[in-house]
Amino acid sequence: MERSIQRPRPLLAALSVVAGLLGGCASTSSTQATGSNATASNEAISDPLEGMNRFIFSVNLAGDKLVLRPAAELYRFAVPRVGRDMVRNFLDNLETPVILANDLFQGEFERAVTTSSRFVINTTLGFAGVADPATNMGFVRHEEDFGQTLGSYGVGPGPYLMLPIFGPSNLRDAGGKVVDHFLDPVNQYAHNTDRDYLTLVRSGMSAVDSRERAIETLDDIERSSIDFYATIRSLYLQRRAADIRNGEAPAFPDIDMTDEPPKSATTAMKSE
């Protein structure tokens, strides 16, 4: 019964949810427009390691089938939705320091105020973050990470990478992930007090929670794809480009431009 209640969502909504998950971003992006007008849509995808990436993807899928998906289904079965939302809120709240740092790196001071307000409100009134009263007070969550910060300074995505366990990424975002890891005060605390397992527990919880939210969506995409790997790659790269544009619509794929031979990686690096 619960399955049918949970079962999302028409067509498009589903896609964006999973894309959010894949981009490590569960919330909707802000509609704040930027001046930049990236033409990611007309750029050739850079995936020089496609063979290796496809192999890692298939290993990840096998791991998902054996471990992550069953864990997500168990989680859905064992914890009611209210509880799962609390888990998500708590994990989201733990992420706010890193989001704040990246807001500041990008000079997005209004967003930084939103992020800090969320942290103060949800940590206190929200009982250490399990509730999210800040959203109702007008402080809506957004996501930022160091990969996006680099992107906002014009660093292109570089080659696409399928990371073991972590999933889709690219050179820029994988590097950003490492930076974010060290920026994170909880990770620092865990490391300095010899409690590194805390980082693992937290990542594990986050993975299971995100996977639970995407069960139907990922099934749906897999079923409707003729090349699942290529679809996930496209969704991930588009999602990241959209996050860096802070939600502005992508350029329209021009038939004349797609007739051209694939563009070089340098063009891709510059114009994003």
Binding site: R9, P10, L15, S16, T28, A230, P253
Partner: protein, 202 residues
């Protein structure tokens, strides 16, 4: 008496006709109205529990043909391979492409869950296509609302959707990237894609 009434009638008819002829251009749909009507109709079809899955699929195909420029979308999805395709390949591909979309999305049609949508506004696309981006917010019963932009193109007097962008992700680009990968991994042969699409119909 009679001529006067006839005259009045004629005058009335004349003004009515005038009114209509003036009303006609004024009533030309804006892109926002067009998306609104399309969305209402989609929700009506999705929410109609009396329809069989087959009827729903047919209704979906009808809406797709009415509201979307499918030949253009199909052509852009094929991207640079369109140019090298033969006339026969093109027409078979376009037919298979539409079937593929109908099939893909009609699987999801049974999952309608009471979502509603709200037109949030329209603006000129930030490029030189002359398109309008109509922004809608899909409100879901569980989960945050999703922003969907509809790229609407005017061709003569008719409006058609040419791309759907969910949270910044273009459906057209996603499909194009996937098809391009299939073709690339088959040595650049469009026939390989056509074959894959054909086999999916079974």
């Amino acid at each position: 008496m009679l001529p006067r009434r006839v005259l009045l009638l004629l005058a009335g008819a004349f003004f009515l006709a005038l009114g209509f002829s003036q009303a006609a251009p004024a009533a030309a749909e804006t892109p926002e109205q067009f998306v609104g009507v399309l969305g209402e109709e989609a929700i009506r079809v999705l929410g109609d529990a009396k329809l069989t899955p087959e009827q729903r699929t047919e209704e979906f195909r009808r809406l797709l043909d009415k509201g979307f420029n499918m030949p253009l979308i199909g052509q852009l999805v094929l991207g640079r391979h369109w140019r090298t395709a033969t006339e026969a390949q093109r027409s078979e591909y376009l037919k298979l492409f539409e079937d593929f979309i109908v099939q893909t999305y009609s699987v999801r049609l049974g999952q309608y869950n009471g979502e509603t949508f709200r037109i949030a506004g329209g603006r000129a696309a930030p490029d030189n296509t002359g398109d309008t981006l109509v922004t809608t917010e899909i409100v879901r019963p569980n989960g945050p609302p999703v922003r969907v932009d509809w790229r609407v193109r005017k061709n003569g007097e008719t409006l058609k959707v040419v791309d759907v962008i969910a949270e910044g992700i273009s459906m057209l680009i996603t499909q194009r990237d996937e098809f391009a990968a299939v073709i690339q991994n088959s040595g650049g042969k469009v026939d390989a894609l056509i074959d894959r699409l054909r086999r999916r119909q079974l």
